[in-house]
Symmetry: C2
Subunit: 239 residues, 2 copies
DNA sequence: GCTGACTCGATTGTATACAATATCCACATG
DNA sequence: CATGTGGATATTGTATACAATCGAGTCAGC
């Protein structure tokens, strides 16, 4: 027995086809490669991915359950488009849950969590400062989500992680619906505040910081939507 | 246009087969008709329900995503069994979310919500008082979940409802794993306290009451599990 | 000219056939 | 006698075939 490698990454098996399709589509939607409301045909996807309809259907079933796509019986599936009320609701819930996550992270984070958090924030900062906005928008979005995910992971609560994963999906969809709105405003300071409170094991401070961040950000998004409520179809990259 | 019926119940169509299978299995698992850990074969279920494997597979895919069953590649699916850490985590998160739900319900509930809440509590009380314990255990469990669900619905936040639905699954599974532990202790008073605070639109009071209820109940469940941690297979109705 | 029903095309829903993988038991071997 | 290997069996994973449903375009009727 070679105990040298304490955690070998589980030897990723020749993963199931449906799993591959699921991951691929999920990433594509979260990455914004499909416009909200865009129709997804089974046959087209099957052909594009070179597999049969079966695993595609099963993957889309999961995505529906995840809330990434809407399914209407006999009418196919399309990328989910969130209405304004649901966006408001998302931020209400997220404030509570991210607050809890930050508080728990402050209490339970390990040394490796701390390192991961610092790294995630550094990556986010590296992508944000003043680089071309439109180009790395997707990257920023993903890195932002990754940082928040790290916080939740540091809480060491699998149930919370699972729920936050659901919210993450909605946040990602929202961000793509408000693409015109550029993200990195004063988020850096807020992220840093969360990180600092977590690292110093100040649970209530972390909770406050996280809640404040979500509230601020949510308000900005909602303001943006109120200003231009008819985003509708964001097919191309508008100037 | 016949505006007389404001909300006709959507005329439940000759529902999709996979939907029927999903509802059936979900109800069966939540109702405790399958023992935790029990194996569910596709062919057996297909035969029993008189449909092909396809809709069964798709339903089980959704159930897996819901967290009701575990799936291992090429090894089939079995009813999920929660480990103690996850049970602890569930109550931590539920305290936060049920608290939020109660607070929002206090702020946003309508007259019909109020009626539904009162009715739900009355039903629960009718089933609980001192009736035979083991006989209507399932009914009590379902009614208890229904009351809490009503509170969440009264909050009028679809995102929160969706997340609480996930938690509800876990709570139901936990209740079945701790079947020996009988439920209706002083829960009535706590339920009544939540209801009263909600109806009097006391948001923070409702939050406190809900959190207190979850904390109390969670502690009891955990104590029960600590006393008899090896529940393992609860196949028959033990005496 | 407009409204309504009908038919055709396309797409999804379900069932079944085929392939791949895992589990179990027998058997040979040390 | 224990252990490892081999094959048989059963179950899941994927592909395809068939049925049902939906949408659009068209033509008849008013």
């Amino acid at each position: 027995m070679t105990p040298s490698e304490v955690k070998l990454p589980a030897f990723e098996r020749p993963t199931l086809v449906r799993e591959g399709v699921y991951q691929h589509l999920r990433g594509a939607i979260l990455g914004g490669e499909f416009s909200p409301g865009e129709r997804l045909g089974e046959v087209e996807l099957s052909a594009r991915l070179g597999v049969s309809r079966t695993p595609v259907r099963e993957a889309m079933m999961r995505l529906t359950q995840d809330g990434l796509i809407d399914t209407e019986a006999n009418k196919g599936m399309r990328v989910r488009q969130l209405a304004l009320p649901e966006i408001t609701e998302t931020y209400v819930v997220r404030e509570e849950l991210d607050g809890l996550a930050a508080a728990l992270a402050a209490e339970h984070h390990t040394a490796s969590d701390a390192a991961a958090l610092r790294s995630a924030l550094a990556q986010l900062d590296a992508a944000s400062p003043s680089a071309d906005q439109s180009n790395n928008y997707r990257e920023q979005t993903l890195l932002d989500l990754a940082f928040h995910r790290r916080v939740v992971e540091a809480a060491h609560n699998a149930v919370l992680l699972s729920l936050c994963r659901d919210l993450e999906v909605r946040v990602a969809l929202i961000k793509h619906q408000t693409r015109t709105f550029n993200a990195y405003l004063h988020t850096h300071d807020q992220h840093a505040a969360i990180l600092e409170a977590v690292l110093s094991r100040d649970a209530e401070g972390a909770r406050r910081a996280a809640r404040h961040h979500v509230r601020t950000f949510g308000a900005l998004v909602l303001a943006d939507l109120a200003a231009a409520p008819a985003h509708a179809a964001h097919t191309g990259e508008t100037a």
